[in-house]
């Protein structure tokens, strides 16, 4: 008997023949929230800051300046960016060299950058989390995880009011990276774009 058949046989014999269906899952926890958008965005900002990451609100027309200022403020000289990062985000860089991850940067090249700039797929207000799914402007996981500094651009309409709302919005078939707070020496900085 293969290990597979053996394990499944054991599971079946452990559960027995007269199985009752498990009771339904009571989902009485908060799934959606009717809070006004402005409060949700404010809560996200508060929680990101509480977690120890820098966070700023910017208008869409100020984004390029804000990105440049954030990098300048941290003395970042070389950044890596996903190949499809919107050109406008990087339009005002001053003294910063941006390397597009296309063709994919090798480990040595990644090791030589000071930071990355990405977007996100969703953000969660009550936990102060940004979630990347490898989609537009987010790049592959190695790019994000290797960098010492991560500047993440979050559009206000990407912020969900609850964890269940974020889970519903995310596609689990995509590679998901949930980032909360700065970890170790790694710095997270968030720019919330009010569209």
């Amino acid at each position: 008997m293969s290990a597979r058949d053996e394990v499944l046989r054991r599971v079946r014999s452990a559960l027995g023949d007269e199985r009752k269906p498990p009771p339904p899952v009571p989902r009485g926890y908060a799934r959606r929230s009717a809070e006004p958008r402005a409060d949700v965005v404010a809560l996200f900002t508060e929680r990101v800051a509480e977690g120890g990451a820098a966070v700023r609100h910017v208008g869409a027309d100020e984004l390029a300046t804000a990105v440049a200022a954030a990098l300048w403020g941290r003395e970042v000289k070389r950044i890596a960016v996903p190949a499809d990062v919107p050109y406008g985000w990087l339009a005002e860089l001053d003294g910063v060299r941006a390397l597009a991850d296309s063709p994919p940067l090798d480990a040595a090249a990644l090791a030589a950058v000071d930071g990355v700039v990405t977007g996100c797929a969703a953000a969660i207000a009550p936990t102060g989390t940004v979630v990347l799914d490898g989609g537009r402007a987010q790049g592959r996981r190695a790019l994000v995880l290797a960098a010492a500094r991560h500047l993440c651009v979050v559009h206000a309409d990407q912020i969900t009011a609850t964890v269940p709302e974020a889970v519903a919005r995310l596609d689990p078939v995509r590679p998901l990276t949930w980032i909360t707070g700065p970890r170790g020496a790694r710095g997270l900085e968030v720019l919330v774009v009010e569209d």
């Binding site: 290990a3 499944l8 452990a14 498990p22 899952v25 926890y29 190695a142 990276t177 909360t180």
Partner: protein, 425 residues
Amino acid sequence: MTGAPAPKFAAAARVALADTRARRELRAAAAVFGRRRAAVPEPPDWEALRAAGHAIRDAALLGLDAHLERLERAVTQAGGTVHWAADAAQARRVVTALSRAAGADRVVLDDSLPVRELALDAALSRAGITTAGPPARGADPGGEAEDGGGAARVAVAGVDFMVAETGTLVFVEAGDEPRASGGEAETLVAVAGIETVVPEWRDMEVLLQLLPRSLTGERMTALVTCLTGVVPGDGPREVHLVLVDNGRTRVLEDEIGRDALRCIRCRACHHVCPVYERTGGAPYGPVHTGPIGAILTPQLRGVESAAAASLPYASTLCGACADVCPVRIDIPEVLVHLRGEVVESRRARPVPPPELVLMRGLAWTMGEPRRYEAALRRGTRWARLAARGGRIRRLPGLLGAWTDARDLPAPPAEPFRAWWARRRR
């Protein structure tokens, strides 16, 4: 395993108690957890989340066969490969073979529970493969080469949850313990206990709230990675999932004991346990520790050995663990149940243990009022003779453990029932 049999909990605990520095550290760790938890107010729907978490984990276990088959299909469809292991030896063979096939002489291994349970570190070393822990995230990448980090071909990582519906593997990292699930390795070998499956993706909306708060006291852990099969151009080119039984189906057989398999390995029960706070993990054995270890290990390994049989007794049944457990495992009641299993397994022994003789005798005496009353008179007389200044300072036999550090008052000459009878006259 060879060598002397493992010591009983009490004997190992005596050694641990003598280590005052370790006790101070344990106490400090418990205090840190308490403070962190207190700093983050409990969400208003916490009890509803616990109820949902309980039901989700039960649903996972009660349909485990179907969920595992569904998971296997989903992982395979997404480009991953599923392997099965009935026991630890099989799992070690699978992981070693996969590492060899990938041409790795170095493997990155995280410090997760399945990796420790299967002693993969030692197994890979025996196969001539060097192992290293994953580099701390965000560490200065230039430093990695010096401490032996750097990109390895193969990463072996313990899985926290797997979603049957989508084939998604979920890795939850607290800030201080990086996992090997990052995007660096070419081949990812994910190792999972079969019980870590959950039926649906939306179940993660509950577990990703319950686990972080219970694990670190925070609202969300530093990093959560969800990986479904192979993603072209992103992360490992090969994803292998090793599904490990290693005693879990044995636990599943016991309708009461199986509740232990709901565990999501958050360690909240450790942080609140007054016994663990004083003994630390060592007396519980090498893999599962704390209150959950006390109910899991005797079930995984059986209660024949004295060490495993002592674990269900390593608790005052105070219930602090059950109050905090995010999936509401009633650990004290499972402990009582397992104590029953221990006693049952000893009944058939040719020479009955002294405790069994004593407890049987007591029940025989107490089960009948006249026998009880006669024994009460005898016992009162005897105990009053043994007392000095109204206190008993030394008891014989099994009761001696009491008086080693505690006095016992001498029983009064007149028991309650005698007083009542006298009053009525």
